[in-house]
Symmetry: D2
Subunit: 328 residues, 4 copies
């Protein structure tokens, strides 16, 4: 384990001292002396796309504008370099650059840096960088590619959580990684004082089982644009949504309608999101969403190969689908 394990006291002190307005100490279990920092994974967190120029380089200007737009829209969190941000097609230096830019433009909106890597050491390095530049939390997608053993997964997350003072959020997206964390493992990880939330896609039975196991200690976000409303119903505290980058107002309205118990409206918006997702699924991921954003006035560039490109016909059909859905 390359990361030197810092003491709990040190971590809490630094957390309290360094960023006092964000982190409040809460004693979770006095007998076990388990402390939780006061970060909360909740509300509408946007997993935004990374705009690329024609030569596949990052379009920093477009990126800054996009973040400014989302901040103005009132989102509750900014998720930098997540899966819709094409994290797996970017080098570590590029990911750091996007995290830094996101913090710079965040205007106080908490930044969740996606630091997941196939290798533990790389994830730790990214997480430390995220902490240093001021991210509010580090989210780490489960390691991918290789068959993962529960023991390795546990060490991965505990090493990560021991290495930084900002909270760690587990990101569990089986459709990308082939890994679906066992509820028993989540139960164990949720006892670590610095693991504070879990974002997950997947069916709601699984979601409820996770909440039953660890809902008293960590927060759960819905990572599936098509299940946000029912997930909120069964106890999610918020969502990490790709479509929220596309339609922040719509997802925010759904979240607020939920808080106001206007479930009819929630249902309507959720069906709208499903309809949009079904349109987007007809074209290469995540190029469709980028085109939609571009058509709505926020130039979002192209994807990196081998993702994309879109044909002319696909562009026309997507534009048509959006017009029909009243989006443009």
């Amino acid at each position: 384990m390359p990361a030197s394990r810092r003491t709990l006291e040190n971590r809490l002190t630094r957390g309290l001292g360094g960023k006092p307005e964000k982190y409040k100490l809460t004693i979770v279990n006095p007998t076990l002396e388990v402390f939780h920092l006061a970060f909360e994974l909740k509300g509408v967190n946007v997993a935004f796309t990374t705009p690329f120029k024609e030569d596949e380089s990052i379009d920093e200007e477009a990126l800054r504008k996009d973040i400014q737009y989302l901040v103005e829209a009132g989102v509750h969190g900014l998720v930098a370099c997540s899966t819709p941000g094409e994290m797996a097609l970017m080098g570590d230096e590029e990911r750091k650059r996007v995290i830094r830019i996101t913090v710079e433009e965040s205007k106080g909106v908490p930044v969740i840096a996606e630091v997941g890597c196939a290798r533990t050491k790389d994830a730790v390095e990214l997480a430390r960088f995220a902490e240093d530049v001021g991210a509010a939390a580090a989210m780490a997608l489960t390691p991918w590619f290789f068959p993962q053993h529960p023991r390795g997964l546990r060490m991965h997350y505990e090493t990560l959580a021991d290495s930084i003072d900002i909270p760690v959020i587990i990101n569990n997206l089986p459709e990308y990684t082939g890994v679906k964390l066992d509820p028993t493992l989540v139960d164990v990880l949720a006892f670590h004082p610095n693991i504070r939330g879990l974002n997950t896609s997947g069916d709601l039975i699984y979601f409820q089982e996770l909440i039953e196991r660890a809902g008293d200690r960590i927060s759960f976000a819905c990572g599936d644009d098509e299940l946000i409303f029912p997930a909120l119903c069964v106890g999610a505290s918020g969502c990490i949504a790709a479509l929220a980058a596309c339609l922040p107002q719509m997802v925010l309205e759904m979240y607020n309608s939920f808080l106001k118990k206007d479930y009819g409206r929630c249902r309507q918006i959720q069906l709208n999101l499903i309809r949009l997702k079904n349109e987007l699924r007809k074209v290469p991921y995540p190029y469709g969403q980028k085109l939609v954003q571009t058509l709505m006035g926020r130039p979002s560039g192209r994807t990196r190969m081998p993702l994309g490109p879109l044909t002319g016909v696909e562009r026309v059909l997507l534009r048509k689908g959006m017009k029909k859905a009243g989006l443009i």
Copy 2:
């Protein structure tokens, strides 16, 4: 198609004339002249088990008592010979006998007869019997065993719906049948005036897609004990629940809490059901549920082979799990 297609007028007349208090005519679409009978698939419908004696014959006395218990508990519908009723292990004459007994003991509670068969002709025969003895609706599980073609599935349900005057409910349980109805096919079937509801298990994205397609014409019930509450949230009008045979009051309380918008209570009960289901999953299906019911004072007999049996150890562990859950 062995069933003579009766005219719509005839069907509606018979429906109105024969059982006037139950069936009211509603004009759904005057230009298309699509009429829907007034049956509604809603509330808590119980898919109860069939009690068998040691020699595997039906224990009619126990069956009658069980139905009486459920009727008194206040359930909204009785589902005779469904999957937890071991439908696929019973001959047609036995299934008819259970349907008849259910109607006899129903005291006005609507009886939904599960008439699904691998062969269309057999399903039609059972459905006609159900209609003749007074069932309120005929539910038909999708055909199973063979690879099914959408064309055959459409003809299966349309033949069935043309053959009887009581409403047809589609039963879609991919975990039993390997068939997951395409939303497009459900959309088409929902235009048939005598197809009036669909019960489905499976993920909630799919559930929402079905509602989006056909929710204006037919009702949707949740066929998954572990998803009843979130399914109600996204628009289910009720459930067809196996665990409701075990714990009718609990499921009824969840349904009523939902109507009263007490979602905290719903969430609590739903988690309880998940906990119970996880216990039951540790022993052969559906013997565990039968044992739980027996332990709660309602002798539910054994299963037919090859289902079951339970070992002594399993019995002890299940009893322990139930005590821990506060059920006995």
Copy 3:
């Protein structure tokens, strides 16, 4: 267990006495006193279709002619009422009728009666009938529909094997049943003196694992038309093939080429079978195969609903595909 367990001696005596030319006693393991009867599952066994008339009744004349054709073609075994025979759409009396007719027309070719049922008791009844009318072996598809427990599966097959004196062949087709027998369970079952073979579809790693576990005691047949040649290579003693009903000479030639070590020819024929299967997969199962047989001069009738029907376009395309493949 309704079947009275007959003693091993009795079984062997009856087997030896009753049908002396077919069954020879072989001592497999003298210390364990495990005896195996001398039936061998090997060569090309044909899982033929059941011809139905327009009213869905069995076309007995066509059936007899079809069996005569296969017998003349020189197949090594006749599998009555198997999955391509639409076993799951036929009543028990109908299945018995087909088994009886097959034996009557078999002219000494061993008849394997498929007696699989969802319920153990039904399978036993069919198996006893098969034994009584002179079938050489009873093959039983694993129970389907319900989630199966290894304990129940073991009792299912042991009850069956205890109830008859002709050999039992396990039929393991996960794509129909959702059940894939665990190699450990197969290992245990293979110790029963009356369980003598296993037919399986599925990947060849699994196939090899089964052979490794139990290949010293029972024979293995390939139940997948597209894997016959590689299965023979890794140790299958034969196949139970649906396409062999369509093209008996072709499959026999592949089997004989394998015995003569002409693997180039085997490869060629196996690719032909894959090509044909791909054509058949484009139309409803098993109507396509029935049409091909009809076009080749052996009227095979229609399927029972909900299987089929074929559209005119599908008929034309299939005929074209077959012409291209040089079959008609």
Copy 4:
């Protein structure tokens, strides 16, 4: 497309001029003017592990020794930085280093450099490096992580094949990537003059379909240690095997027995490999194989986290399993 497309003539000239002993020009289709270089994917190619020290750095000395051992054993090809080599846990510079070392120690045995990356641009860069240092071919695992579109996949491989003069081998391992190349796409790609082989795991029906489509133009290797023998039977020209790093003599003997048509011996060895694989599957991947190699006298180090580690109990059990199998 960042890679400048070099002309076919140029590529062939360079190929002929630069490395004349290895590349011979063959005219595949004179009318289409499609030329294939004379590289052949065949025989036993070893996908060896990368030894890491306790600090997770590459143990170059152990690596060199390991390659020397394999070369002496007589393997037909060396696959550098493949999946058992933990490719996805290594940076680009590290992968280049391993490729270079492999070539340096290859003593004329062809080196296949695995250059697969999630991003096209990165794969091209690695492939050009591999060509420059003298690899015989560049194998590229299909892109992973994101949902892939056939159009993007096609452009990925064509860009790669246009960018280098050494042959490209497609590596198709759905269990790692979630991508299973469509036979139609393979058919198209196989027309590119510089795409010359495909390595695939997965079922043999799929394998045969690929051969049927493109077997006249490119070679197919079996990427599944448990299917090498049956894959050779249906037309594979060789294998890319992880276990061949563990037991080169055994895999070579199986390949040579196949050439000598001694299928009994092939079957025996294949079952041995399955047995060993089943033992290895009980411990974290690919640590088990590394430990086996170490126990056999070739220090293979540890894995990079989150893969591994092994517990003491696992080490003991694995050693026991190997003793039982007669390997140490």
